[in-house]
Structures are given as C-alpha cells and as structure tokens.
Amino acid sequence: MDAVIEKNKMKIEAEHINFFYGQTQALRDINLHIHRNEVTAFIGPSGCGKTTFLRLLNRMNDFVEGARLEGKVLIDGKNIYSKKTDIYELRKTVGMVFQKPNPFPKTIFENVAYGLRVNGIKDKRFINERVETSLKHAALWDEVKDNLNKSAYALSGGQQQRLCIARTLAIEPSVILMDEPTSALDPISTSKVEQLIYQLKDDYTIVIVTHNMQQAGRISDRTAFFYMGELIEYGKTKKIFINPKMEQTQNYITGRFG
C-alpha cells in the first residue's frame, strides 16, 4: 500500500540511464525519482554530468550531435523518449530556465507571449490575461506593469531572469528545470529568485542545478550529488548535508574538492 502511494508521488522517474556523446560516456547507470511539488537540487563539481542529466528531462540534448540515450525517462508514467513522444508538448510540460538570462530582443510583453503564440494561441484577451498572471507569478508584475512595451533588455539582470521564468510559466508547465539560474546574478537578485522558487513549488515540480551548496541547502527538499557521470547519493537535503552516507559526498560538501 505504501509502495503504491510512493509511486504516485513520483513526477519523474529515470531508470538505468546511460548517456553518450559519440564515444564518450557522460552518464553512467543513473536511477533517480523526482518527487512532485518539491524542489530537487543537483549538486556536484564541474563536468560531473548534472547539467547533462537535467537537459535529458526536456530533451534539449537532442540538439547535440552524436547524443545517445540508453534507459527510460518517465514523466507522469509516460516514457518521454518513445517514438510517439510529442517533443513540443513535452517542452511545454517541462520548462527550462537557463544560467545566463536570455530574453528575446523583443518587448517584455512579447517575451512572455511568445510561448503562447508558437503554440497557436491567437486570442488577444487570453494572451493578455496569461501574460499578466505569469508576470505576477514570477513576482515581476509590479515592477513592469506600466512598461510592458519596453524592450526586455532595459531590465536588470535579476529582472531579466524573472522575466525568463515568467515566460516559462506562461505555457503552464508542470515541471520547471533550472540550470544554475542565479549564478550570473548579484546577491539581492539571487535572493529574490530563491524566494520565488520557494513559492513556486506549491504549484510546480522544480529541479535546479546549482554550484552553490548553500543555495541547495536553503531552498531544496531533496538533493542529488553527481560525480564523474554517476549519481553518488540522493536523499532529503537535510540528511545529505548533515549525515551523508558516501565519503565522496562528505568530501564535496565539506569543500575537500570542488
């Protein structure tokens, strides 16, 4: 009975993931279940595969030449790498925010509306409402509501990143992937974005790759430690940080290597 309930909590299930770039193996036998409505952090030194694994979840790695995946990735029970998968639907369900804010060279309004437009939505009133809702959800509405027609580039770095989050929220994903979303931001913007992530988890499942362990400690419910393409340890954040099982985890957290 408990096992069944546990299974229903899993938003994303990755089983026996082996991932190759051409001849190089980037990920080795990864098994990971991501829980619904939680913030899961991926940590590990540079090049350990955490970003590679993140990008598997919305199939952004498809763009890389020679990329090959063995294993299954299930979201809501469905394998996203099957031949029948609608990639465009997948990317609406699983949104992504990037390390360096990358708004389009358009107005603030158009940035948020873009996702809706490419999915065929034309109703002006619907778009207006959705843009407003998304900007509110991203805690940016009050700062931009009178300037929706200004260029997105006029915003500060932190505001641009929140705009990118709003843009992602507009297409109503259920999972949000974040690849080091605050590493290019100043401390004040960082804390605003962290606050936002904490609020969003009630409605979304969030996976965040971060270099900053304190950040992982602050905002995540569960943490996965990656090293050299393998998943070394995964569990509730408090446990990982206070009482890790593996020696490598201990070494990384205490700063013996980075």
Binding site: M60, R91, G95, F98, P103, F104, V118, Y153, I171
Partner: protein
C-alpha cells in the same frame, strides 16, 4: 638604421595607398568631366539611336532597374533559403559539406562561364532567346553564392542562447528560425543582397554571351529583348567615333551613381545591424 627602414616601409604603405587613390580619383574625374556635359533631360529620357548625338539612354536605365528587380525576385528567396538550410539544418550532414564546397567553387567561376551556361540552358534549351528573363535568370545564378555567403555570416551572429530559449518553450525549428533567427540577421542579409544586386547590374560579359542586343526599346514583357547600362557602355566604347565615347562616359556616370548609392546603403545597413545583442 632600423628606424629609417621602419619609416621607409611605412611610407611605402602610404605610397601604395596613394597610388590607388590617385587612380580612383583620376578615373572618376575623367569620367565625370567628359560625361557630365552629355547628360541632359533629353539624354536620360530619350531612346537609343544609331547617331551618337541623337541617342538617349532611357531603355538602358529602365532595363537596368527592371533586371535588378527580376533578378532580386529570383535570387533572394533561393539564396536566403539555401543559406538558412546550410547554416541551420545542414550542420551534421555530409551532403551539406559537399554543397558548401560546391558553392565556394561557384563563387570563383568567371562570370563569362555563367554566360555560356545561360546561353545553352536559358536561351536555347528553355527557348527564352535573348530575352529579359534569360538575362535575369543568368544573373541570378551568378550572384547566388554571394547571397548565400552573406546570409550564412549573418545567421552565425545570432547567439545560441536565444535559440535554446525558443526551443525550451516548445517552438519548432522553423518557428525559431522565422521568429528569432531571421529577424535578428536581417541587417546582415540585407547588406549582402544589396551588394549582390549592385554586382549584378554592373555585369556585362554574361549578357553579351546570351546575345543581348544593343539597339532596343523599353521591354514590355519578360520575353522581350532588353538592354542595360553596361551593355550600352560597352557598345559605345567599342566604336571609334569620339561622340560615342562621350555617350559612354555619360552612361558610366549614371551607372556609377546607381552603384554608389546602392553600396552606401549597404554599408548603412551593415552598420545599423551591428550591436544588436548586448
């Protein structure tokens, strides 16, 4: 001694530049000097004549603009399309690599060879004769590599981060190209197009080979015979009489005016399009 040699070479560089500048200025002064006197309203709007003094140049001016237009209509979609394919779709493709080499080669083929191709393919096989359409098709093939290369350069400047952001929102490849990549590269593509067209209207050799006549009036349809400014210049300069040489210089003034306006606007667009991304 070292310092002397150093300055010597510096002045050599300047001297070489000066030679080129003197040449250019002499050319422009000579042409404008003999040509300006011949340019009048009658000349610009009159029809061609076998008599030098009575000849106007309207058919050639109209012909130049019309052929520029038709060549643009043909070459721009194909050239930009090919550029987009090679840059956005063909990255991992052996076939695309082969196409790339092919295009690089075509860029170095002498223009008169394009004329021979046009002669057989368009004039004879497609039965277009010495028509306007045959000329435009031939010139289109000639400038295609220029447009393709310019398109690719412009496309390369669009940052990967913008493309990724678009894909991550569920956009397809074509949506990303149409909504982001093309608008962002428009300045560079436009510059390339203008330079290509500027080249096209200055070309003479291919049109001679196709059999363009020099004593015609303004064409009524694309199947009619036609003439363009370079052809008239060539025709007039080939005759011994002084009066024809003057006509030629007048026609050159007009042709250079058009060419320079086009090139300056290309530079304007190029400067405008730089500095788009922060």
């Amino acid at each position: 001694m070292k310092a002397f040699k150093n300055s010597l070479f510096k002045y050599l560089g300047i001297f070489s530049t000066v030679i080129g500048v003197v040449f250019l200025i002499t050319l422009l002064v000579d042409v404008f000097h003999s040509g300006m006197s011949r340019i009048s309203w009658d000349f610009v709007t009159g029809s061609l004549s076998r008599h030098a003094h009575m000849s106007g140049i309207l058919p050639a001016i109209v012909g130049t603009f019309l052929i520029m237009l038709l060549t643009a209509v043909i070459a721009i979609p194909i050239g930009v399309g090919a550029g987009v394919y090679l840059e956005e779709y063909g990255k991992n493709n052996r076939f695309a690599a082969f196409l790339e080499i092919n295009i690089a080669n075509l860029a170095g083929v002498p223009s008169i060879i394009y004329g021979i191709l046009g002669l057989q393919l368009f004039s004879r096989w497609m039965n277009l004769g010495a028509s306007f359409l045959a000329g435009a098709l031939t010139l289109s093939l000639l400038i295609l590599p220029i447009i393709i290369v310019a398109t690719r350069s412009a496309l390369k400047t669009v940052p990967l981060s913008i493309k990724e952001a678009s894909y991550a929102l569920g956009a397809t490849k074509w949506q990303t190209i149409w909504n982001h990549i093309l608008p962002a590269s428009l300045g560079g593509i436009l510059t390339g197009i203008i330079l290509a067209l500027s080249r096209a209207i200055g070309e003479t050799a291919p049109l001679i080979v196709i059999g363009a006549k020099v004593f015609v009036s303004v064409p009524n349809s694309v199947y009619d015979p036609y003439t363009v400014l370079p052809l008239q210049i060539f025709n007039w300069v080939s005759r011994p009489q002084e009066a024809f040489a003057t006509n030629a210089s007048a026609a050159i003034v007009i042709l250079l005016l058009i060419t320079f306006i086009m090139n300056f606007s290309a530079i304007y667009f190029r400067n405008k399009s730089q500095g788009r991304y922060k």
